[in-house]
């Protein structure tokens, strides 16, 4: 898994609550048996004017000029700023793969749906929860920067657990220790669990006696 230590990048704002996984990556793209290549279809229904399908070359489709990802000032953004309950809906990890494939490294929002939140960590995408007030401030500063035709950049430091704005204000965020450790070191979860093989086997032996119908 890709490590995450520090990251500075351009912010793209997504100013709506309950952005669901169907919106992040529509179902027709879930038919792929691969992990890569979802980026061009991130937010597909919002991003293009014509309907999309895996069989259609995206280059032949008309981008929706009003959708935020298509605006010139947000090209190359790597941090997505969202509203409450980001990533609600299905368990599809394709939603996370689409974000990372597009180049997003962190999503900052007041709250996330549980499964999306979990899936993010497995793919080196950092979901950061800040308070509603802090999020409001970020949206506002971003909009002001935008009026001045300046890109809005944030700096994230996972070790210090901070998000720093261009004016130098640092917001701190919570993250549980184990997840942080894995992200900082880019560790493989399965490998870590397999170090516990003996405990798993001992558990199974005990359960075979207690609840034999489960085996």
């Amino acid at each position: 898994m890709e490590q995450f230590t520090q990251h500075s990048g351009l912010v793209v704002p997504m100013d709506r609550p309950n952005v669901d996984t169907d919106a992040i990556i529509p179902k027709q793209y879930l038919k792929s048996v691969k992990r890569a290549g979802f980026g061009p279809n991130l937010f597909d229904d919002w991003r293009y004017l014509d309907p999309g399908d895996p069989a259609i070359d995206n280059a032949t489709r008309r981008p929706n000029p009003e959708f935020v990802l298509n605006l010139p000032q947000y090209q190359g953004s790597t941090i997505l700023l969202g509203r409450e309950n980001f990533g609600c809906g299905s368990s599809r990890e394709h939603a996370v793969w689409a974000l990372t494939d597009y180049g997003i490294r962190a999503v900052i929002a007041p709250s996330f749906a549980d499964i999306f939140f979990n899936n993010s960590f497995k793919n080196g995408l950092l979901p950061i929860t800040l308070s509603e007030t802090e999020i409001d401030q970020l949206f506002q500063e971003e909009a002001e920067g935008c009026q001045l035709n300046e890109g809005y950049q944030l700096s994230i430091d996972l070790d210090a657990q901070t998000v720093t704005t261009p004016s130098g204000t640092a917001f701190s965020f919570e993250i549980d220790a184990f997840r942080k450790y894995r992200l900082l070191n880019g560790l493989d979860d399965i490998g870590l669990t397999l170090q516990q093989q003996d405990s798993i086997k001992a558990y199974e032996e005990r359960r075979k006696v207690e609840a034999p119908w489960l085996f």
Partner: protein
């Protein structure tokens, strides 16, 4: 010993190792696999040269992409076909049992688990699908996971998890006639919001839940995820045990003989102890719940069938108001329109929420002696599994549907998410028994209204949303 919640009991019984930071390595008794979220997991196993930890703990079935008609022609869409074939190959390669497309046991993953006894009380059950919460209706801890976690369970039979907070949702008193599990859960989501349960495992309880059949409880738990909770559950009672012992079909995985007695004794403990404490309690009165219809693009945007479409102008919160405005524009609805004045183009009865035999019976009861309204273009009835289809045909339900001008299909997810050929055209409006009314869920720019099976058929025969209670006893 301190009083425990059902969730505590299920959790504690599966902890392989507790970590200092409060997370735990949790043992998984059953993993269900389907074609959409498993290919990358199997690929990961192969790349790392790993093999499944316990092959027999897995059960696979294709459901999302399968056609619901003309199956003998196979899957026409080449991309969908590749995905189903990939599941077949992976199951064969790793020796995992799969109910393939031609198998009578094939069906929606959350329907076939309980039907086969593959999901049992007291188990931990996972699947790469958020509606895995369904299985909690049997007194199990069941939750959806992502593909990386599917791979993790394949390789280790465990997951690293943090315990959620616990929430009790209690429906006091019974609900009235014509009010179903679907209406109960929509009313709950309407009250809590789609993020109200985030971070919680919900136990549903109270008279109205006790009165539901196990199937009805599955409908409620199915939509726990729509309230933001990863897991929903209901305590085991005699109905649960009877369901596992002699439900209508399948149950081939359920324990037998001595194991059965032992299992039943253990299952009888699967309820929250008197005095157990929850981190949150939400209460509703059963008598207040009427048949529900969603009007927007999130399941929390729901009202009673007798109500009107809400007016965004009455909402004081800016973010919420703009969400409501967007939803109304998308849905092509006016504020303050009466819900029962809204006409529908298509009707869908199916999905892991409402495709079990009891749902089909409820749909048939309303359809009997009536027929599809002129203005309704299509009514799809899609059973949850081949065995349910067979049972329904034994009971003659298929004839009632066909006589009413409905289409009787083969089992699968179908128009719930429209990954196969069953879908709405842009701006078509559908009364649907599924669980999500997100934008474009049932086809690009489709408009979904979530309802119970009886309410869906009431809309099919009248052409618009209709309080099914006014049709009851009238035919």
């Amino acid at each position: 010993m301190a009083a425990k919640t059902l969730y505590d009991k299920l959790w504690d019984a599966h902890v392989v190792r507790a970590e200092e930071d409060g997370s735990a390595l949790l043992y998984i008794d059953r993993q269900l696999l389907h074609e959409v979220t498993s290919p990358q997991a199997f690929e990961g196993l192969r790349l790392a040269n790993r093999s499944p930890w316990r092959v027999d703990a897995n059960l696979a079935v294709p459901d999302h992409n399968v056609p619901t008609t003309n199956r003998e022609q196979g899957i026409v869409d080449p991309v969908a076909r590749t995905q189903v074939e990939t599941l077949d190959q992976n199951a064969d390669e790793f020796g995992i049992t799969e109910f393939k497309m031609g198998d009578i046991r094939q069906g929606i993953v959350h329907v076939i688990g309980p039907e086969q006894g593959a999901t049992l009380p007291g188990m931990t059950i996972v699947c790469g699908d958020s509606h895995t919460s369904t299985h909690g209706a049997l007194g199990a801890l069941a939750f959806g996971i992502g593909t990386s976690e599917v791979e993790h369970v394949l390789a280790t039979q465990c997951l690293v998890q943090k315990k959620s907070k616990s929430m009790l949702v209690r429906i006091n008193g019974a609900v009235g006639a014509g009010v179903t599990g679907k209406d109960i859960v929509l009313a709950i989501i309407g009250k809590m919001g789609t993020a109200g349960g985030t971070g919680y495992a919900i136990e549903f309880a109270g008279k109205a839940i006790e009165n539901l059949s196990v199937e009805g409880r599955m409908t409620v738990c199915n939509m726990a995820i729509e309230a933001g909770a990863r897991a929903g559950m209901v305590a085991v009672d005699q109905k649960t045990i009877d369901f596992v012992e002699n439900g209508t079909v399948g149950r081939t995985y359920a324990p037998r003989g001595d194991d059965w007695e032992k299992a039943v004794t253990a299952w009888q403990e699967l309820h929250s102890d008197a005095g157990a404490e929850f981190d949150a309690v939400v209460e509703l009165n059963g008598a207040d719940i009427a048949p529900q219809v969603t009007w927007g693009t999130s399941p929390e945007m729901v009202v009673s069938v007798s109500a009107k479409v809400p007016n965004p102008a009455d909402e004081s919160d800016d973010v919420k108001r703009s969400g409501m405005e967007k939803a109304l524009a998308y849905m092509g609805l006016e504020a303050n329109a009466a819900i029962d004045s809204i006409g529908v183009d298509k009707v869908f009865v199916g999905s892991c929420t409402n495709s079990r035999i009891e749902d089909l019976r409820a749909a048939a009861e309303v359809a009997k002696g009536r027929s599809k309204a002129e203005s309704v273009k299509q009514v799809l009835i899609v059973p949850g599994s081949g065995l349910i289809k067979q049972q329904a045909e034994k009971e003659g339900l298929d004839k009632i549907f066909i006589e009413a001008g409905f289409e009787w299909r083969d089992p699968g997810c179908s128009m719930c998410l429209a990954m196969n050929a069953d879908r709405l055209e842009p701006e078509e409006r559908c009364a649907s028994t599924s669980n999500r009314n997100f934008e474009s869920r049932q086809g690009l720019n489709s408009r979904t209204h979530l309802v119970s099976p009886a309410m869906a058929v009431a809309a099919a025969v009248t052409g618009h949303f209709t309080d099914v209670r006014t049709l009851m006893g009238e035919a």
